[in-house]
């Protein structure tokens, strides 16, 4: 018997426990993808209730439904285009007044909304009472108290969802009246807009969003035959109406509105937002009773955000996170890859006997080594997402962003980008993944692009080895530290440059919500982690495999001899460029193989330069040449896995190519500069 399917969309602000509810409902029957052509993660899953198969779509977390960010547009397009049977709005009952803003906006878009008040256990512990019956009557939709963490009220929520989908509950959504002056403008617009196809939106909704200056709606209107006329006709309406605050004598005269420069007025978009806010304030006053006492979060924040203690706590937490990911991760990685090696060793003789040499070589040196690399990434990525979820879910990451904001702001970056920089010192793959914490696409792209410049553990290892060949202990230490300083200087420089290029909005400032501290649920963290690891394997794994085969082919054809192979030929072709920084074709060829993985450079060099690498290198390079080599080595794209993750996280080949190209160009330029300045002194 096939079950009837219901589509349910899950909407909610960030930090309300939306993913906890999603995981609770769908368990392991979930999968992640991207919204078509976008970088935003789209999660779907299946659950069953009362004989229905319920497909749950997790909409991106948004604060409202005005086209302020991509997430918001995606969320509302899903609601009007795919017409889910029910939208569950999950709100945090402890911050109800903030969250109802989204409810009100959802109700303007669709009738089929169920409001789930999450964390009801926390609210009750605080002695706050929410009258959900009254709230339900006022909003005109079902309201259910739940706790996704404690699994309270979930069955009732699903009952309501099904009753609403079956039409057994009729909703009567609250309609806001924006006051006579604004309503008059809205009704005029509605009658004009009623004639057109508004891509699924209702005329009243489009009219309101138009007055709010919503970008997507403006674009829709422009495409209409009478678009420009409509826009012209609302221009007088967009002009501000007398400011009620000044009328009431609350605000002083003489303050000038930055947008319209007309004194004593506030723009209509702000009035609309304020109207919604005032309505919500009254709703909360009617339906929520109880004292608000100082919460535990306030007490913790006194220490965590303290001028002196704050940074100390931050350093400790980040250092522990780093150690946890990279010591535990590395240990497990070694374990995993030794298993793979064992496996390869077992089947190796069989393959070499039965396959032509070239196929055998492809499988063992191309595919298996890539496979081993991908496998060794799994524990690292698993540990990283574990730590990441812990930091994010506990509420600490937002505090870290506040503490680091001033410092990161100087680099043209958001405070939340700090985690990605710290992680990158271990490995750029989790480093780039950590940029997921950034909400704005622009900030995130900058953080992804500069990440490869942070020297990862693998690079630092190779660098330390080569430095030790050429310099004494003290010199070596100074050079190592200068190289790290150089790379951080480049991170800052490129960060500021990209910030400028992407139109650094002046006075851009941090606005960040500090959620209540919570003990993350292990089940939830694990459920969040597994699909992400799987996703890495599927997408990045394929690319790593492909890249490895290309590199394998480069040094296998036309003959497996480094001098005549394509890789060697390319190195020779580029020798004139190398000469600008004192490097011969052998060094260049080694660097080309470094694209596969930086730690492979040493292996490549021992093939190219022959065995006994230490003495050969000492004899063939001057200290300055070694230094130049290291500079170039340090700066360009760390490895194929980083490229694959850049592609995954930007979801754009163009930006991936940009990242690869600019790091190579930057590496070569810096190499040339270092060599030529060095020549003057040495």
């Amino acid at each position: 018997m096939t079950k009837e399917e219901i589509v349910v969309a899950l909407a909610g602000n960030p930090n309300v426990g939306k993913s906890t509810l999603f995981n609770l409902l769908t368990g392991l029957r979930q999968y992640t993808a991207n919204w078509p052509g976008k970088t935003v993660e789209r999660k779907e899953g299946i659950t069953e209730h009362l004989g229905y198969k319920i497909r749950v779509v997790d909409l991106p977390g948004t604060y409202s439904l005005t086209a302020y960010s991509l997430e918001e547009v995606l969320a509302r397009r899903f609601i009007v285009e795919e017409r889910p049977d029910v939208v569950i709005h999950i709100a945090n009952a402890t911050t109800l007044e903030k969250d109802l803003y989204l409810t009100i906006q959802l109700l303007e878009l669709t009738d089929k909304v169920v409001l789930a008040l999450n964390m009801i256990d926390v609210v009750e512990k605080k002695g706050i009472e929410i009258d959900e019956v009254r709230l339900s009557r006022k909003l005109g939709i079902p309201v259910v108290k739940i706790s996704a963490l404690k699994k309270i009220g979930i069955k009732e929520l699903l009952n309501k969802v099904i009753m609403l989908a079956e039409g057994k509950i009729k909703t009567k959504p609250l309609r806001i009246s924006y006051g006579p002056e604004i309503e008059e403008i809205i009704s005029k617009l509605t009658s004009i807009l009623g004639k057109y196809d508004l891509t699924g939106y209702t005329p009243r909704w489009v009219a309101i969003k138009l007055l709010e200056g919503d970008q997507e709606v403006l674009d829709i209107i422009r495409k209409l035959p009478e678009g420009e006329e409509i826009l012209k006709s609302i221009m007088p309406a967009r002009l501000p109406i007398q400011c009620p605050l000044i009328k009431k004598g609350v605000a002083t005269k003489g303050l000038t509105c930055a947008m319209c420069n007309i004194q004593e007025n506030i723009p209509i978009c702000v009035q609309i937002a304020t109207k919604r806010r005032i309505l919500i304030k009254n709703l909360v006053r009617l339906c929520v009773k109880g004292l608000k006492t100082e919460s535990i979060s306030d007490v913790i924040d006194k220490y965590v955000l303290h001028k002196v203690l704050g940074p100390i706590i931050l350093i400790n937490i980040f250092a522990s996170a780093f150690l946890l990911v990279f010591t535990a991760g590395d240990m497990l990685s070694d374990y995993a890859s030794s298993y793979v090696d064992l496996l390869i060793n077992i089947i190796d003789p069989y393959l070499s006997k039965n396959l032509p040499y070239i196929v055998y070589d492809l499988i063992v040196n191309g595919i298996f080594s890539a496979f081993s690399a991908v496998i060794s990434f799994i524990p690292l990525i698993f540990m990283f997402f574990l730590v990441y979820s812990l930091m994010e879910d506990s509420g600490y990451l937002a505090r870290a962003a506040v503490i680091m904001d001033r410092f990161m702001h100087a680099l043209g970056l958001h405070g939340k980008a700090f985690l990605s920089i710290v992680m990158a010192f271990g490995c750029n793959v989790p480093g780039i993944m950590a940029t997921r914490a950034l909400e704005s696409r622009r900030d995130r792209l900058i953080a992804i692009l500069i990440n490869p410049l942070v020297p990862c553990g693998a690079r630092l290892g190779v660098m330390a080895f080569i430095i030790s060949l050429f310099f004494s202990d003290l010199e070596a230490t100074i050079i190592m530290l200068s190289l790290i300083a150089l790379s951080l200087g480049l991170v800052a420089g490129i960060g500021l440059l990209l910030n400028r290029l992407f139109g650094g909005e002046k006075g851009r400032e941090l606005i960040i919500e500090l959620p209540e501290y919570r003990l993350p649920s292990i089940r939830n963290v694990l459920l969040l982690t597994w699909p992400r690891v799987r996703d890495f394997l599927k997408r990045a794994g394929t690319l790593i495999m492909l890249g490895s085969i290309i590199i394998w082919a480069l040094y296998t054809f036309p003959a497996k001899n480094i001098e005549v192979s394509f890789g060697g030929q390319l190195g020779k072709l580029l020798e004139p460029l190398g000469r600008l920084m004192g490097l011969d074709w052998r060094a260049i060829t080694s660097l080309i193989f470094g694209i596969l993985a930086k730690e492979q450079v040493l292996a490549a060099m021992s093939i190219i330069y022959g065995p006994d690498l230490n003495s050969v290198l000492r004899n063939s390079w001057s200290p300055l040449q070694a230094l130049t080599f290291l500079v170039v080595f340090m700066i360009y794209e760390p490895c194929i896995a980083t490229i694959a993750v850049t592609k995954r996280e930007t979801n754009s080949w163009l930006w991936t190519l940009f990242s690869l190209t600019y790091t190579i160009v930057l590496a070569l330029l810096t190499g040339i500069i270092v060599f030529n300045i060095g020549k003057l002194f040495l």
Partner: protein, 80 residues
């Protein structure tokens, strides 16, 4: 009762004020309204020790840059 209006940043931790006016662009004002900071809302200064200040409004804690805290004007609710 005084009805003077002061920038939010001048409130000391623990002090409350009613927002009278926000000086800023559309995007910022709307985003603040979404988070529960709008003319008429009661805000409380929680922490201003390091970089951005932490305020609470409508039951939510929010960290905002100091520059922005200078452009939000409030009517203090407690005698200072």
């Amino acid at each position: 009762m005084s009805s003077t209006i002061v920038p939010l940043i001048t409130l000391n931790p623990g002090e409350e004020g009613e927002i009278a006016y926000i000086h800023g662009g559309w995007g910022i004002i709307r985003r603040l309204a979404e988070l529960g900071i709008y003319p008429g809302a009661i805000v409380r200064m929680e922490n201003k020790s390091w970089g951005p200040v932490v305020i609470s409004a409508s039951g939510v804690r929010i960290a905002i840059g100091r520059g922005m805290a200078r452009r939000i004007f409030v009517k203090p609710l407690r005698s200072r």
